[in-house]
């Protein structure tokens, strides 16, 4: 068994399933604010795993920790058997060549057109001939349905198109995994549908492992094999989407069904209203 293929016993996943990412006892703070307080997460190979939770719970931070852009206060993150935060710069960059990341904003280079954006990682890390590079870029763009948009500049793209270009770029080096940071936020229904379909299709066709960070319950549950719900720095619940939708936990039910009040109160903590109103100054 390879180093990164330890067996998971957590949750309801099949025993013996190989893990690509293993997070153990993760602690991370920003200033005085604790973002993660002893989080354990396993990301199985070849699956779409969703990390869900309300805004501000550190979902994007988790992706940056997995990608080695942030360093945890305590705990370990292993990707394909490598402890991300003990790697030197060169080894980390070598690992990142096997990871793709789709940023919420797309993060396209604004002075390059669509073709050059997708070609960028290939130009940086390979010595392919120009004709081979062209073919590869066009194939990647074809996979996201934007071959015809290759001459457009990022400023000329809609939000959904920008994310699809970013997805083509993230796949350019044929990574083993792709991390999606809030891919559905601010998308119209058509773009949303396209992205949902693409994430699932690409995962299965390219035998990827996908980590999907989102708080869009319906879209995420439609494509995820496994869902982790996090809040207050901890994993609240984990399991297949259907199991979480039917969960008996008040917190999970409130989040998964979008209930306005529950364990997460509608009101931000504040003093008594009457006392606050008649006290005078704010």
């Amino acid at each position: 068994m390879r180093q990164g293929q330890e067996v998971s016993v957590a949750g309801s996943r099949p025993p013996g399933e190989p893990m690509l990412v293993k997070i153990r006892d993760l602690h991370f703070s920003r200033g005085d604010r604790k973002i993660f307080d002893g989080v354990d997460i396993d990301i199985p190979r070849g699956r779409v795993t969703a990390i869900m939770g309300p805004s501000g719970t550190g979902k994007t931070t988790l992706l940056k920790l997995i990608g080695g852009q942030l360093t945890p206060d305590r705990g370990t993150i292993e990707v394909d058997g490598l402890n991300v935060h003990t790697l030197g710069r060169r080894e980390l960059y070598r690992l990142r060549m096997r990871m793709g990341m789709l940023f919420q904003s797309g993060a396209l280079l604004t002075d390059l057109d669509v073709f050059e954006n997708v070609a960028y990682p290939l130009r940086e890390h390979t010595r392919l001939s120009e004709s081979m590079l062209r073919k590869l870029v066009l194939l990647k763009l074809e996979a996201v349905g934007l071959r015809g948009a290759r001459h457009l500049m990022p400023a000329e793209l809609s939000g959904g198109m920008a994310r699809r270009v970013a997805l083509a770029r993230a796949m350019a080096l044929d990574p083993m995994m792709i991390m999606y940071d809030e891919p559905f936020t601010g998308q119209d229904p058509i773009s949303m549908g396209v992205l949902v379909k693409l994430i699932r299709q690409l995962n299965d066709a390219a035998r990827l492992t996908s980590i999907l960070v989102s708080h869009d319950v319906e879209e995420t549950c439609a494509i995820a094999d496994l869902v982790y719900v996090i809040s207050d720095g901890r994993v609240i619940e984990q399991g297949p989407p259907q199991q979480l939708l039917e969960s008996g936990s008040d917190w999970t039910r409130q989040f998964m069904h979008g209930l306005p009040d529950g364990p997460v109160p509608f009101h931000y903590p504040a003093p008594n209203l009457a006392r606050d109103l008649f006290r005078g100054a704010a």
């Binding site: 990871m99 940023f103 904003s105 993060a107 396209l108 960028y120 990682p121 940086e124 970013a166």
Partner: protein, 257 residues
């Protein structure tokens, strides 16, 4: 006691800031070797940092030379020393005004643009995107900009001084009647290669180094928000201007003691 603690905290912040800037500078210098393999990155930045700054430098140099000639003439004519006008204009430009005013204009035009560009790349996650593509943004984005600024400054200062001399000649010889031959012969005889020209070039190299370092550091260190980028851009202009004026005094004291 509280004021003392605040003062101490301020100093610690400043030292930490300086430490971060020094570490970034080391990484930028380390990344220079890669530019030999990718000269195109440097050429693009030389255009953006240098060529696009030429117009403001040229126009300013011309007017500064004209004013210098006008003011110099009124003073020198009181001592019947108008013949030294050309030397005075050229020496002032080569020793001081060329490097200093060019650096101040550079900080306002190119330095602020560098900070804003890098800051916006950070705010729009382009730098994070590069990192996740296993591309070091310090080597790809910061290193070529730094070298371009360092190389462009002495060239811009030379242009400023050359056009300043021409502007001074136009006013002194063309409008105020100073003898054309005297203007050029005196300048040729009295301007010293080391004392005037080389010292001016050294000054502009130092200013180029410092101004570009401040600009790229402020951009890279800016908060990834519109207000953060705006504050970083302002800091670039203020810090660069103060650094140029302070260093000019130190360099002048060392060079002309």
């Amino acid at each position: 006691m509280e004021a003392l603690a605040r003062l101490g905290a301020g100093w610690i912040r400043a030292v930490r800031h300086l430490g971060r800037a020094l570490l970034l500078l080391l990484r930028i210098l380390e990344g220079q070797s890669e530019l030999l393999q990718r000269p195109r990155l440097l050429l693009e930045q030389l255009f953006s940092v240098g060529v696009l700054t030429v117009l403001i430098i040229a126009v300013s140099g011309l007017f500064v030379g004209m004013v210098l000639s006008l003011q110099g003439y009124y003073i020198l004519s009181q001592f019947a020393a108008e013949s030294a006008l050309g030397v005075m204009v050229a020496a002032s430009l080569l020793r001081e005004l060329g490097p200093v005013v060019t650096a101040l204009l550079f900080a306002g035009r190119a330095g602020s643009a560098l900070t804003a560009e890098i800051g916006l790349m950070k705010a729009t996650e382009q730098l994070s995107g590069l990192e996740m593509m296993a591309v070091d943004p310090v080597r790809r984005v910061l290193a070529p900009r730094f070298l371009a600024g360092f190389l462009a400054m002495p060239l811009l200062a030379a242009l400023f001084s050359a056009l300043g001399v021409l502007g001074g000649w136009f006013v002194g010889v063309g409008l105020l009647g100073v003898d054309d031959g005297t203007w050029w012969v005196q300048m040729q005889a009295r301007i010293d290669w080391n004392e005037d020209l080389a010292n001016g070039v050294i000054k502009s190299l130092v200013f180029g180094f410092v101004c570009t370092w401040i600009a790229v550091f402020q951009g890279y260190n800016s908060l990834p928000t519109s207000a953060g980028v705006s504050r970083a851009t302002t800091r670039t202009v203020v810090h660069s201007s103060l650094a140029v004026l302070g260093l000019d005094f130190v360099l002048t004291a060392l060079m002309f003691k």
